[in-house]
Every structure is written in structure tokens, then in C-alpha cells.
Symmetry: C2
Subunit: 186 residues, 2 copies
């Protein structure tokens, strides 16, 4: 089975990533984590993670999807050409690309959100400052799928994980992550 590549950058949000990664694990989907380099990366809550690969060395032939966590200060990574190039190539190959919280800014900066409905966990001021978003396609929904692109707000991290699992057609048990007995799985 092809892998999901998980992009890591300093200050990435562990919790925003964690349910999506657990859904992949449930679905026996292999993952490869990719950082700017092979150096350990500290998440925003203090977990120090060793990427399996540097993003420049990622074998995109072995991958069919990307997963991007949010990041306290997305401005620090938004011009990293290695990340943007991987995102562009993945979108050209029609891979599933799932980005949560502030990370849809990386998709917008890479140019792959053009004409797509999306959401993002940034203020209007922050979006204006970045200047890469098409405001007319912004949605106030908390999880949005448009074609191969999945975007979500941070607080929707559980449904974001479910949406990725469904897009990849993986078997998984959504109720691992919710106490709502009658939780709607959508």
C-alpha cells in the first residue's frame, strides 16, 4: 500500500495531527514523516520527533497522500521551497492532501487551492497579511473537502482525521475518538 507523508515543521501541533495519524494506523496505512531535514523537530506542546525522511528526499512515487499539521507560527515555514514543492507535486499527481488549522496557508502559498473551496484556522487579518488566499472560496465550515483537498479548523481535528480516513477508503473505528454515543460520522 502507498504511504501517507506527514509533513513536520518546528512548532507543529501534535494534537491536530494525532487523530488523523491514529486513523491511518487503524487502516493499516503506512506513514512516512518528513521534515526540512533529518534533524529532530519540536512540536508546539514539546514532543521532539525524528522525521523518517527529509522532505527533499521524499519518494513521491511511494506516496498517495499528504497530511499537514497546523503550526503556531505558519509564517516561519510558508516560504520553505522544499515543502511547497512537495505539495505542488502531490497536487499535480492528484494525491489526497489534508491540511488543518493554519496549514492550508501552505497549500494556498503552493498555489494548489486555486478555485477550491477551503477552510483555515487563521484570522481574516492573518489571511490578508499572507496574501495567498482566494477569499471568495473560503468556507466557514470546520471540515471542507473539495476534490482531493481536505482542509479543517483545528478544533475539528477529530472529524478531520475521519475525513482523511474516508478519502483514503480506509477501514477504521471512528468511536475511538469520541464520547458522543450517537456521534454522526460525517
Amino acid at each position: 500500500m502507498k504511504k501517507t507523508a506527514v509533513l513536520l515543521y518546528p512548532g507543529f501541533s501534535e494534537y491536530e495531527l494525532s487523530v488523523a495519524m491514529s486513523v491511518l494506523m487503524q487502516g493499516h496505512k503506512p506513514v512516512v514523516t518528513a521534515g526540512s531535514s533529518h534533524a529532530p523537530i519540536r512540536g508546539e506542546a514539546g514532543m521532539v520527533c525524528v522525521p523518517d525522511s527529509a522532505v527533499e528526499e521524499l519518494d513521491l512515487e511511494a506516496v498517495d497522500s499528504l497530511l499537514l499539521p497546523g503550526c503556531m507560527d505558519i509564517g516561519t515555514v510558508i516560504r520553505e521551497e522544499g515543502l511547497l514543492k512537495a505539495i505542488r507535486e502531490a497536487a499535480e499527481r492528484r494525491y489526497i492532501v489534508a491540511a488543518i488549522s493554519s496549514s492550508p496557508a501552505l497549500l494556498a502559498m503552493a498555489g494548489v487551492l486555486k478555485g477550491k473551496r477551503y477552510t483555515v484556522g487563521l484570522s481574516e487579518a492573518a489571511m490578508d497579511q499572507l496574501g495567498c488566499f482566494e477569499r471568495e472560496h473560503y468556507s466557514s465550515e470546520t471540515v471542507v473537502r473539495d476534490g482531493n483537498m481536505i482542509t479543517a479548523r483545528g478544533r475539528a481535528f477529530v472529524r478531520f482525521g475521519w475525513a482523511l480516513g474516508r478519502a483514503l477508503e480506509l477501514p477504521f473505528e471512528p468511536h475511538w475518538y469520541t464520547e458522543q454515543v450517537a456521534a454522526t460520522f460525517h
Copy 2:
């Protein structure tokens, strides 16, 4: 401010830990991750983490609380004397000890759940096989606090994080982790 020590073991559950760690971050609580050794540890969903400390070297004077994630196969770590010793010492010092999913088994094995109400994410058969639980104090609630001990089922990982933040009297925004507009914060 004293730290929360986060115990890590092979196959630890990233998502069960992630909201609790994010709450600590929101509350500006310093954390120190501690493994059996300084070697990187792979979580159950594939995140490879470098512990800040080996558990044997943990300075418990600098700590006021422990956080324990669940683990796919808790049987593999339940006899690790270094972990059990740290748990025993933390309980003797009346530190807050928060354990989710299968990890209350480590508390029971360390002898610190004696006479305490608790919950755990294990089947009755698994509890019987481990033989360390006082069945009469088991609760079917998903988050239980009895004195300094907080235990929770895996699917209650959001409320588990909230409970830890409240026990440590940290300021934090619970709605980062929920889409329920009228979510009861309890």
C-alpha cells in the same frame, strides 16, 4: 513552575496524550518527556519521539505531576521497574498522576491505586489476566478523579486533558478541542 513528566514507552498512543500536552502548553506548564532510556521511541501511530530524559534520571524534585499515555500492548511495559518506581515516588509525594486507556494498569501494578476509584480502557479478561486491579473500585465513568489520581478511557482523551489542566489549576481554553458549541466543561 514545576514540570509535568510525560512517560513514554514503545507503542504509546499519540492521540491519547496530545490534548493533555496541548492543555499543559496553553497553561505554560513545562513538560519533560521520559523514556526507558534516551533512545527514540516509536508511538503506535508511527511518530518517533526523542525523550528529554531517561526515567531513571528524572529529577522528581523538579516535577509535580505525571502523565501516562495508553499503549497498544501495556503488558510489554508493565514490569519495567524504572517506570513503576517513578510512579510510586510521585504518588508518595502526592503529585497529580494522570493515566489514560491501558496505562492505569501501570498505576495498579505500582500499587498506587489501592482503595482509589479508577477507570481503565481494558477488557475484564485483560484486567483479570494482569491481576493487579481492585475490581470493587472500578468505575464505568470515562474520566475519574480520586484525590491526586486521574484515570480515563481512551475515547475520553479530550476531557482527560481538561481534567489534568483543572487538577493543576492551569488557565486554558477547552474549546480548542471540541466542536460542541455548548460543550459542558466538566
